[in-house]
């Protein structure tokens, strides 16, 4: 068995507390290039909270987050450049065009070649013909594609996806599936949080089931029985 590549992003005993409630309770994980980590769990399990912490947008109550082995407290904010996030919220400005949105976020990430980069990325997600339209005139599925283009614009090493299938119709979901497969074959570390057990499981290399803030299960995909839905139900009920 080949030695796994060193983790780009690693969390050790991560805790997030709101008052006296623990949304994320001593979670440890390592994100390795080329692997997809699927995080499943019931509502309120803390999956989104965990993702926000990994993305650097939510403060960690206790525990450590390491980027290339360095604790983030020792780094300035620039480590966030290596992370791209797709959420169920689009993070877009409705009154700006697709291009303007990408241009804005590209600037935030310090990109210089946007005049070339943006058209190219829009082409990849099949949105070249809608580049000049305001985001509010796009359907949910198309907005999600823009969000994906935005997340990948700066070529992040780590891609975090939080319920990306939410609200998508069949066609849009198919497109997203295709995009995720492309991601999977790359050299990035991917985290996929989803309620969509079928797609999620199909795409994952490693499976985590989070219940009430903790990782109830954390295994390689081949250690999970094929009837994932049943397995998932058993774990969640068992942890209740």
């Amino acid at each position: 068995m080949t030695t796994p590549a060193p983790a780009i992003l690693e969390g050790l005993e991560l805790v997030r507390q709101f008052g006296v409630q623990r949304a994320v309770d001593r979670v440890s994980l390592a994100l390795v290039p080329g692997r997809v980590l699927g995080i499943f769990g019931p509502n309120g399990a803390g999956k989104t909270t965990l993702l926000k912490m990994l993305a650097g947008g939510l403060r960690i109550t206790s525990g450590r987050l390491l980027v290339d082995g360095h604790p983030v407290e020792d780094l300035d904010r620039s480590w966030r450049r290596r992370i791209g996030v797709v959420s169920h919220q689009s993070f877009l400005y409705r009154h700006l065009t697709v291009t303007e949105n990408l241009h804005f976020f590209g600037r935030l990430y310090g990109l210089r070649d946007l005049a070339v980069r943006i058209p190219e990325r829009l082409d990849r997600v099949g949105l070249s013909d809608r580049a000049g339209e305001p985001v509010r005139s796009l359907s949910r599925g198309l907005r999600q594609r823009v969000a994906l283009a935005r997340a990948l614009l700066h070529d992040p090493d780590v891609v975090l996806l939080d319920e990306p299938f939410t609200g998508l119709d069949a066609h849009a979901a198919e497109v997203l599936r295709g995009q995720l497969k492309i991601l999977k074959d790359g050299s990035r570390a991917v985290v996929l949080v989803t309620h969509n057990l079928t797609d999620g499981f199909a795409l994952s290399d490693e499976v985590v089931i989070q219940v009430r803030g903790r990782f109830a299960v954390r295994v390689d995909r081949d250690q999970v029985p094929n009837d994932f839905a049943r397995y998932y139900r058993d774990v969640v009920e068992g942890a209740a």
Binding site: L58, S78, R80, R81, Q89, L96, L108, G110
Partner: protein
């Protein structure tokens, strides 16, 4: 340099959006004009000359009208979670603050222009003193006002009370701006020499600088989740 470009990118985004929606500017602008109209009815010309109290009325209109627009500073970001997207980006948080301050200053600057125009028209006001000194007084006061209010606007938008909390937090802190701003404006209206407002300019400048520096530094504690 890169930093300034970032600040500009942030401000430009806000201004571009405002250009398309015109939400805040129309609310503030309509407020300014209507207040002018109401003041006309509220002042008895047989008892007091409008020119005597114009400076005060103008500043109060700017402050109240400004509050209308400033309360929405961060609301734009809430809609589709764009603020989270920004917080997850590598930009320094004080840059985010300064971008907002810049955008708000431009927007409010337009409103200030409108207020002076409307009040000048309605009350037949004239500036006898140095116009540039007036621009200085009002401009510096504006920056101080925006600096403080932007910081607290980020706070207010995360409370259950929302925008209505903003005046309570900010008004006591703006007392120096009102005092130096109004007296400077009044003096320039009646044509006093610049020397008499140099103290005002200095104090307003100090307040503006202090407000933006302190705001930029404290902003990270307010905006992080």
């Amino acid at each position: 340099m890169v930093y300034l470009r970032l600040v500009w990118a942030l401000a430009a985004k806000d201004l571009r959006t405002e250009l398309r929606t015109k939400e805040r500017i129309s609310a503030m602008g309509a407020f300014a004009v209507l207040v002018g109209v109401l003041f006309n009815f509220a002042i008895d010309p047989t008892l007091v000359r409008a020119q005597d109290i114009a400076a005060g009325l103008i500043w109060m209109t700017i402050i109240f009208g400004g509050m209308l627009g400033m309360g929405r500073t961060f609301q734009l970001e809430e809609e589709d979670g764009a603020l989270t997207g920004i917080l997850q980006s590598p930009i320094p948080l004080d840059g985010l603050y300064l971008g907002k301050v810049l955008a708000n200053t431009v927007l409010l600057g337009l409103v200030v222009g409108l207020v002076f125009f409307v009040f000048g028209l309605f009350f037949r006001l004239q500036v006898e003193g140095n116009v540039w000194a007036l621009v200085g007084v009002v401009g510096l006061g504006l920056i101080g006002f925006v600096g403080v209010t932007t910081l607290f606007s980020a706070m207010a938008s995360r409370t259950t009370m929302g925008e209505s909390l903003l005046p309570v937090l900010v008004f006591p802190l703006l007392v120096p701006v009102i005092i130096y701003g109004v007296s400077g404006t009044a003096r320039l209206f009646v044509g006093r020499p610049i020397a008499e407002v140099s103290g005002n300019l200095r104090m307003l400048g100090a307040f503006a600088i202090a407000a933006t520096l302190v705001g930029a530094w404290l902003f990270r504690f307010v905006i992080e989740e």
